[in-house]
């Protein structure tokens, strides 16, 4: 194992693994999404390429790669070409700090949570730049929407995370996971004795995650029936494909984070079958269950309206998450005060 501890090899392995993970995830989540959509809409979904459609992602990628890269006249060429690259980088970096299993983490940062959130929130810049550089009215409207949406939803999400931080007392994702050992009743989402509103905080987190990743019913960035394709209107070929890969990678990051923060990460839900490779299995099961929920939501609900979206954040989610923050603080600290006084 010593050779794995060599820094350059670790970095190389990390880069290769994350690239493969992100690439395969994005490719196969697109297929999964189409299959789930097919299931919801009672049609087969893609089933021609490969066995039951399993080769569909490769067919799609092949098609997208074969397309000519067009830069429309009047665009800011540099930004236009850079945006798809920039949109892909943050989720790849975020995945570095995620503990997939007990010993399976690229970098166990002691500020992992901060790291993930700081990179997770610059993802919006790339969308904004892409929309702005396209010089298309639809794109510009859409990028304005993306920015205000992300700003609005960053706040309740961070408030929820601060609530969680007060309970866990650490920013290391690995340690947060370790704290939740010993069965599903120890998971943060069910820790109602610390804060009775814990399930609510998870719901807020999930809603914010949907909004942050621009997923339906909050997909203002790509409101295809209003703004053609929103930010991506002028993009074609692989540029367009990369935006979608980034969207799915962001969903993966969001769901990984939700698993770590609320569902005990790689911990087994029943206490047995834990440790070693089982950790990876549990982690992936939980993450993909959440990802499936994200897709299920998308194919069930209509899109919400922009001002309703902002109202939801500013008028409902932020007050509730502030309240849970105060409640958690009170429940953690009041007993201490009680002890000190009496």
């Amino acid at each position: 194992m010593t050779f794995l501890n060599l820094e350059p090899i670790r970095i190389l392995l990390y880069v290769v693994a994350i690239c493969a993970f992100v690439g395969l995830n994005a490719a196969y989540l697109v297929l999964a999404e189409r299959k789930i959509a097919g299931r919801v809409q009672r049609r087969p979904g893609p089933n021609e390429a490969g066995w039951g459609g399993l080769m569909q992602p490769f067919a799609d990628v092949g098609k997208l790669l074969a397309k000519q890269i067009l830069v429309p006249a009047g665009t800011d060429t540099l930004l236009y070409r850079m945006a798809p690259l920039m949109v892909m980088a943050p989720p790849m970096l975020c995945l570095m700090a995620v503990p997939y299993a007990e010993h399976f983490v690229a970098r166990d940062l002691n500020l992992g949570l901060l790291f993930v959130f700081s990179f997770g929130s610059i993802n919006v810049m790339a969308l904004m730049l892409g929309g702005w550089a396209s010089r298309n009215k639809y794109s510009i409207i859409s990028s304005a929407r993306v920015v205000s949406q992300n700003v609005a939803y960053e706040i309740p999400m961070l408030l929820v995370v601060i609530t969680l931080l007060m309970i866990t007392g650490t920013m290391s994702l690995q340690e947060i996971t370790v704290q939740q050992a010993g069965g599903f009743w120890h998971w943060n989402v069910f820790r109602v004795w610390v804060n009775p509103l814990m399930p609510v905080t998870f719901i807020i987190f999930f809603i914010c995650m949907l909004a942050e990743t621009n997923r339906a019913p909050f997909d203002m960035a790509e409101a295809e029936s209003e703004l053609v394709a929103g930010v991506f209107t002028e993009y074609g070929g692989m540029g367009f494909g990369v935006f979608f890969m980034a969207e799915y990678s962001n969903i993966v990051v969001g769901c990984c984070l939700a698993t770590v923060l609320f569902f005990g990460g790689w911990q087994s839900p029943i206490g047995i079958l834990s440790g070693g490779a089982w950790g990876l299995v549990w982690f992936m099961l939980k993450t993909y269950a959440l990802i499936t929920t994200v897709m299920w939501v998308r194919w069930t609900f209509p899109r919400t309206q922009f001002y309703l979206l902002l109202n939801l954040s500013w008028k409902i989610l932020i007050p509730i998450s502030l309240f849970t923050l105060l409640l958690t603080g009170a429940m953690l600290k009041l007993p201490l005060l009680w002890k000190a006084l009496f």
Binding site: A37, V40, Q41, R42, R43, K137, Y138, I141, A216, P217, D219, A223, E224, S225, E226, V228, W299, T300, F301, P302, R303, T304, Q305, F306, Y307, L308, N311
Partner: protein
């Protein structure tokens, strides 16, 4: 909450540039359902003025009618509004029958009513799916088409066509309805109410849909009158105007059905009117199936060469989108001197410019979806 801006573009005393831009929605836009172009002057996301530009699919049906004999124009009627082809054929057949004073046999009238109402349900199903996909919910579209498919199968078994039926003839029908059709329709009438309940639970009661449609896009009865808007648009404004009741035709007076109206005059009212109308159509079909008797399906004496006596004739039907009227001025020849088609979508669209003023773009598009526009029906 109503998102609406009443005083737009208040550039104080001409100081500073007016911050507006023109957004060209269409003719190839996903929300336009065809080749409708809307030139919108936007102030941010607020619509200052949305001007529909029509004519991209104009096919001169009226002029074609004036250059063809009555029978030759008959197939055209199915192609004006392809989603309610039966109603349009009914109006054209009806005006000729009225002019020639042909008595249509009762069985033919009942089958006309059954097929027309089936067609209405099929049309509303398309509207429902399309509106929901305008709102970003793509799943209902496939559910709606699932049910519509059943209707299309029935009508295909009856007359061979699935969209442009051309099933009615002057004085009756192309062929008689067989037991397969009648039994299939009976089964469909039983199949549909649980589906409509499911749609209500899944979609109509959904909080996001309600927020998107309620209090959005008010179209008052007064505005409907000014623009001549009919059908679910005016019924959604609380006016119980239905040609089946106001100018009864065919055997509609024999049926007991309600005209659903909602006084709220918003997009949701128009939505609910159509959802209720499907239930009422099922009631009509049910009654018609009970009342129908055996008999001839064509009037005995229809002249081979049709020449309408000189005069001015009208016949209006309640199509899926509102009042469709055919007006014919005949000079006694084999072809009409003037053929006027009064199509509902044209009037329903023309109020869009006034109604959408000051609305936010996605709401305006939701309102446009609630108008249920069929572009060939606008341009004809």
């Amino acid at each position: 909450m109503i998102a609406r801006k009443d005083s737009l573009s208040a550039a104080p005393d001409g100081q500073g540039p007016q911050e507006t831009f023109v957004l060209n929605l269409g003719p190839q836009h996903p929300a336009a359902h065809g080749v409708l172009r809307v030139l919108t002057t936007m102030e941010g996301e607020w619509i200052q003025r949305a001007e529909p530009v029509i004519g991209y699919i104009h096919r001169m049906h009226e002029k074609m009618g004036e250059n063809r004999t009555w029978a030759k124009f008959l197939p055209n009627t199915s192609r004006i509004d392809y989603l309610s082809a039966m109603h349009y054929t009914h109006a054209f057949v009806g005006v000729v029958e009225r002019a020639l004073k042909i008595e249509v046999p009762a069985r033919a009238e009942y089958i006309r009513v059954i097929t027309s109402e089936l067609n209405r349900i099929a049309s509303h199903m398309v509207w429902w799916g399309a509106l929901l996909s305008d709102l970003g919910g793509l799943t209902p579209f496939l559910y709606a088409f699932d049910d519509r498919e059943k209707i299309l199968d029935l009508l295909e078994g009856l007359c061979g066509a699935r969209l442009t039926y051309c099933y009615y003839r002057f004085g009756g029908l192309y062929n008689d309805a067989d037991d397969d059709f009648l039994n299939g329709t009976r089964a469909f009438v039983k199949h549909m109410p649980p589906r409509l309940r499911m749609y209500r639970d899944l979609v109509s009661d959904n909080i996001i849909l309600r927020k998107r449609l309620e209090e959005i896009g008010p179209i008052s009865a007064e505005m409907c009158r000014r623009y001549g808007a009919t059908g679910p648009v005016i019924r959604g404004a609380g006016v119980a105007y239905d040609v089946r009741r106001c100018e009864p035709y065919s055997v509609y007076p024999k049926f007991d059905f309600k005209i659903p109206t909602y006084p709220q005059a918003d997009s949701m009212a128009r939505y609910l009117v159509r959802m209720d109308e499907m239930e009422q159509s099922l009631r009509i079909i049910d009654q018609a199936l009970d009342q129908i008797t055996a008999g001839p399906f064509m009037a005995p004496k229809v002249p081979r060469v049709i020449k309408l006596p000189p005069g001015d004739y009208c016949y209006a039907v309640e199509a899926a989108r509102g009042r469709f009227m055919v007006r014919i001025v005949s000079d006694g020849k084999e072809m009409p001197y003037r053929l006027k088609l009064r199509t509902p979508s044209f009037s329903n669209l023309s109020l869009f410019e006034e109604a959408s003023r000051g609305m936010i773009l996605p709401d305006a598009l939701a309102m446009m979806g609630s108008l249920d526009l069929v572009i060939p029906d606008i341009d004809r």
